[in-house]
Symmetry: C2
Subunit: 321 residues, 2 copies
């Protein structure tokens, strides 16, 4: 059986062979650049894995896998402008390396190329593939908007937050699996269970990401602990704390949200400890993990064919921690 590594290698090779129009190069160089920066390539790997699960050859789903990776990278290019981010995967972001107008326009082109790639898939039901993909694409934009709205909003509920991360990051994992499974020959029911698996795993990943930013071991996580706190990022932890704290503690939390001192991270972590927000976040994460695995069980193929996907999810979750 193929491993994650095998499939990852195939994805990397195909990405390196995407043919870009050469002119105007100000527009195509940034696309090549961002696509070559690597990363886990989780989404396209999931698409191929799902296709394989139903007996489909990876080759059948490769264009769709590239489409989803291209779309994902398009969102990164535009999000980095909106978030004023200078660095992506250890390299300058497109709007820093080139400029903002080039980042807008080459992002637009990536979105167009993503649909192009999807349409290169040999299928009798292109309409369904595009419909799943487009619905997800719109949701990802909505998620980004909610995320930006939350930045200036202090009454974000747990439910609001879960909806936002579902749209912004989780549905694309669901989409990657659903599209791959449909190309591999899955029926609608199985494709939908895989979608739900991907979506719920995606929510769990994001919750884990939030938890580790405050409670992980710096070296393992690969970034400084407390970065989200320093940046006042609305994580599940901050939202739980804002919703649980009362009286002076609530005032203190608001004070730190407006402060930039060095004691901020420790002070907020103390409040997180007092209100046990980590436990709450871990519980939520567990719920979504279990929900994901239940959906995977419902897929009507031999359990052994689902093992690689299950193990991939577990490995990713552990590698993060």
């Amino acid at each position: 059986m193929k491993t994650y590594k095998d499939i990852y290698a195939q994805v990397e090779q195909e990405i390196a062979h995407i043919a870009y129009t050469q002119q105007p190069e100000e527009l195509y160089k940034p696309i090549e650049y961002i696509m070559s920066l690597g990363g886990k390539r989780l989404r396209p790997v999931l698409t191929l894995m799902a296709c394989n699960m139903f007996g489909g050859e990876s080759q059948k789903a490769i264009k769709a896998a590239l489409a989803i990776e291209m779309f994902h990278n398009f969102t990164l290019v535009h999000d980095d402008i909106m978030d004023n981010a200078d660095i992506r995967r250890g390299h300058p972001t497109v709007h820093i390396k080139w400029n903002q107008t080039i980042a807008i326009l080459s992002g637009d082109l990536m979105m167009i190329k993503a649909t192009d790639l999807l349409c290169e898939t040999e299928t009798n039901d292109l309409r369904t593939l595009i419909s799943v993909f487009n619905k997800t694409a719109a949701e990802v934009c909505e998620g980004q908007q909610w995320d930006m709205n939350f930045e200036t909003q202090n009454n974000v509920t747990e439910q609001d937050y879960l909806k936002m991360i579902t749209l912004k990051t989780a549905v694309l994992l669901g989409c990657a699996l659903k599209v791959g499974s449909l190309i591999g020959g899955a029926n609608t029911n199985d494709a939908n269970h895989l979608y739900e698996f991907g979506k719920n795993i995606g929510i769990a990943f994001q919750l884990q990401d939030d938890i580790l930013d405050s409670f992980g071991e710096g070296d393992k996580v690969g970034k400084k602990i407390g970065g989200d706190i320093a940046a006042n990022k609305k994580t599940i932890l901050l939202i739980e704390a804002l919703n649980s704290a009362t009286g002076d503690d609530k005032d203190e939390l608001y004070y730190w949200l407006g402060a930039k001192s060095e004691e901020k991270i420790e002070a907020v972590l103390n409040l997180y400890a007092k209100y046990k927000v980590r436990d709450k976040a871990e519980q939520l994460k567990e719920q979504y993990l279990q929900l994901a695995f239940e959906h995977l069980k419902q897929v009507s193929i031999p359990t052994e064919n689902t093992l690689l996907l299950k193990q991939t999810a577990i490995d990713l979750m552990e590698r993060m921690s």
Copy 2:
């Protein structure tokens, strides 16, 4: 027979009835806003007209027509950011009325919605429609990039310029007609002739636009004469002048390109007169008009069925002058 007005009215009505998701409203309100600002609705009208020419009911092509109008408005929203434009059709641009991040993101969503609308078309060959549409969409992005490149480039040739306006504005008129005709039942050959008609008429429109900005009657054109000169816009006139002028005249032209004085417009117009750049531009425009009409003649349907389209092109050209 239907008139432009009839078809325009249908387009306006359908645009008013597009159902937008309501949440988050920061994302959907700007889309409703820009789509409601009006304009000639030339592209969707052309799509319906082309469908009608082959005996197809307008209703068959309405979603595709809306897709093309949505795409066109998406390019306006993003171009306005890149061009720092404050006003669009007499109203504040999206990034001014809301902000830049909202303009980027709602533009992205419009691109996605455009593909969605196109996919709602009842057709046996969705792949071809999307392929024509996506090819054009990519070209429009390329055209915008060339246009931005030319801003800082003093050796733009006539050929460069024609390529730029072809991509940035003309191919979308060709695409609107091709898509409409295919939905109406045209064969590939006829669809391609209509595409070439639209593309060449589009080039002629842009050349006319350039000419009128310097030589039109201010009241009729609806904007101040010489705006392009004041803004150092690389029009066909400026390019012909830069390429024809020699010695002191060339130096003078470069001097004015760097100047902001009130005498600038008159001085540049004098140089335009000396080098007969208007005549050159008018000749070019005539060539593209004739080319367009030759392609229209090649379409294998009764001449009477092509009259509305021909008259529409002539009317538009005259209404501009």
